[in-house]
């Protein structure tokens, strides 16, 4: 494909993506006219007289009438959500895509992405690395042979067929349909994809249950069509569960593998992925229904670990900060206990390293806690407990002081205790400089946390949707 065509494709997609702002602004414009009239009456009577002189010798009275008209414009912006779906990350493990042994990304295309099996075996083709050229396929067979991945999926209302209801049109920044471990069999799209979906609501209250047939097409780097249907449960605080069945067919411009056609069944999950009905897009943002008390794109913590482990910074160097914890795609849902101040939550990924080789990783860990406000809505104290069950087994409990700066960039201070074993997780999946086999850990720690893309809502606001059901 020539560079000119590529440029055209990117220009077209840039135009399309520019319209995918999540907020629609409507501006009211009025002119208000104020009229004011001032009467100024001056009586110039002769000295020593205080009354009118009558009609025979009237006073020299003057009246000034001053009329003023002031017209001023008044404009007001109203902000509405402008999406039927706006998402963070969507992954799915695909079944039945190939006769090969498959890449084995695990349930939801997620659980086994960073495990020892996936990263440690040089002959193992995974999402992170290609198959060894001497091996045509992986050595062991997997149930989930392929992977579906979407970054920032977006859908808006499609108003065709005389505004027939519940049609959507959308795209994603990145889409990957990996058939198996052989990268020549992958179909990928960088921004150049578009999907039309029809929604059938099985449950029209939060969390929605929606059946959606879809037809999609992509241009580059793979040109393919994707026809199928999905059963979607969500979103609840940005969490979604999906089942897929479809058929993808296409080829990749940059390899000579020829046309790939494969059916697939999939089980998927997505985080920071929000679903609206058309009615929800007709209410202003200030009336938007929030289902979580916290949404967080990324959280990074630097920890002083009291067990004296060698620091992960500098690969075992002597630093005051020994540990790091990183969470991606975190959300918390208020529970109907103690006035909704108790919450339960999870993250897409939770990586905790108390030392250079003392590391663990949790996929969709279980987390619960209690939120107590100290100063207005700004400063909150949250005792919490968190359990990562796979691929590592880690129990982490503590108490956190969090400062909501209302800028989407917040700060926290955590005192906690973490204990666990790495299980099937290998730190070398995070970085090549890290060890392959981690060890168990157990220590008290003090951490300072930085929250990027952090939204906090009070339990009263976030539980309103439950009371409305």
């Amino acid at each position: 494909m020539s560079r000119i065509i590529q440029l055209w494709i990117f220009a077209l997609m840039a135009t399309a993506l520019a319209s995918c702002a999540i907020t629609r602004t409507e501006t009211d414009y009025y002119t208000i006219t104020d009229r004011d009239t001032t009467f100024r009456e001056v009586s110039r009577n002769a000295p020593a007289t205080t009354t009118e002189n009558g009609v025979v010798f009237p006073s020299s009275r003057t009246i000034n009438v001053d009329r003023q008209t002031l017209a001023h414009d008044s404009s007001h912006d109203r902000l509405y959500p402008n999406f039927l779906r706006a998402g963070g990350i969507e992954t799915a493990g695909l079944i039945g895509t190939t006769s090969l042994n498959g890449m084995g990304p695990g349930l939801f295309g997620l659980y086994d992405l960073l495990t020892l099996d996936q990263v440690g075996d040089s002959a193992f083709g995974t999402a992170l690395k290609p198959t060894n050229t001497t091996h045509s396929q992986n050595s062991s067979s997997h149930l989930f042979k392929g992977l579906l991945f979407r970054l920032a999926p977006y859908e808006k209302r499609l108003r065709w067929f005389d505004d027939a209801p519940d049609w959507t049109i959308g795209w994603s920044a990145v889409e990957l349909l990996a058939r198996d471990e052989n990268r020549d069999h992958w179909l990928a799209s960088y921004g150049t994809n578009i999907y039309i979906r029809k929604r059938f609501f099985i449950r029209d209250r939060i969390p929605y249950i929606i059946f959606s047939p879809y037809l999609g097409a992509s241009l580059y780097p793979s040109m393919y069509g994707n026809l199928g249907a999905e059963l979607h449960v969500g979103s609840l605080a940005g969490l979604n569960f999906r089942l897929y069945a479809g058929l993808a067919s296409g080829f990749t411009w940059t390899n000579n593998a020829g046309q790939e056609t494969f059916p697939y069944l999939g089980i998927g999950f997505s985080v920071m992925d929000f679903t609206n009905t058309v009615e929800e897009t007709e209410h202003e943002w200030k009336e938007y229904v929030h289902t979580g008390i916290n949404f967080n794109v990324a959280e990074a913590s630097l920890m002083t670990v009291y067990a004296g482990y060698p620091s992960i910074i500098g690969n075992g160097g002597n630093y005051p900060v020994q540990g790091i914890q990183i969470k991606l795609g975190t959300m918390e849902i208020p529970l109907p206990i103690l006035n909704y101040h108790f919450w339960a939550g999870t993250s897409l990924i939770n990586w905790i390293a108390l030392g250079n080789i003392q590391q663990g990783l949790g996929v969709l860990p279980l987390r619960a806690g209690y939120r107590h406000y100290l100063i207005s809505d700004d400063l909150m104290l949250e005792p919490f407990i968190e359990y990562s069950y796979y691929p590592s087994s880690v129990l982490n409990a503590g108490i956190r002081l969090k400062w909501d700066t209302f800028t989407k960039y917040d700060l926290g201070l955590t005192l906690g205790f973490a204990t666990g074993s790495p299980g099937n997780f290998t730190p070398s999946a995070i970085s090549n400089s890290y060890v392959r086999n981690a060890t168990s850990f157990s220590s008290v720690y003090l951490g300072i946390s930085f929250f990027l893309g952090d939204w906090n809502y009070t339990p009263e606001v976030a539980s309103a949707w439950e009371r409305m059901q």
Partner: protein, 189 residues
């Protein structure tokens, strides 16, 4: 090659649907007036120069930011009794929040409604079937003048805020056609 063409066709056709909104369109020649159908989409048929508002139809015309304007349009009653004209309404997100001043043109004359009360009723002018009649509205600060054909049906000062919207509604079982609207600013004296 055929396969590539099909994919490209699906992609291109889908992309072209992005801006599709059957409730909104533009009308006019010199200045394009934004029209929004406030009723079911089939209640208004339209082209770039005229719109037919059917029974139960409601059409909002606006020119963003031009609140002091001189508006004119040819109107033709296709069937039924007549139509309503809403001056200085507040229209938000496809809903008329405040109807402003409502002028009711019918075969029985002209009535003026404000806040649900008829403040004026005249037997003339009347609306006739099939006759094209120029309707013009002038809104300049508090001054408002509405002329239907050769008859001034309203000329007074209004304390309502000036909006950049005008709404046409049909009376029950009526159809009215609005042709070649023009929306220009009022030149100050």
């Amino acid at each position: 090659m055929r396969y590539r063409s099909i994919i490209a066709l699906v992609f291109g056709a889908s992309l072209s649907l992005l801006s599709c909104n059957p409730y909104e369109y533009g009308m006019g020649s010199d200045r394009i007036i934004k029209c929004e159908i406030l009723s079911p989409v089939h209640s208004v048929e339209h082209s770039s120069s005229e719109s037919l508002i059917k029974d139960g139809g409601s059409l909002d015309m606006s020119y963003f930011g031009l609140t002091e304007y001189s508006f004119s349009v040819d109107t033709r009653l296709e069937q039924g009794d007549g139509f309503q004209l809403l001056i200085r309404p507040v229209v938000m997100h496809g809903v008329v929040r405040d109807s402003g001043l409502v002028i009711i043109f019918s075969k029985r004359g002209v009535a003026i409604d404000s806040n649900g009360r008829i403040i004026s009723e005249k037997k003339y002018p009347t609306v006739s079937d099939g006759a094209s009649v120029l309707l013009s509205v002038k809104s300049d600060n508090t001054f408002t003048e509405i002329v239907y054909g050769c008859d001034t049906v309203y000329k007074n000062r209004l304390t309502k805020i000036e909006s950049d919207d005008i709404v046409f509604k049909t009376l029950p079982k009526s159809e009215v056609r609005v042709i070649q609207p023009e929306w220009v600013e009022v030149v100050g004296d």
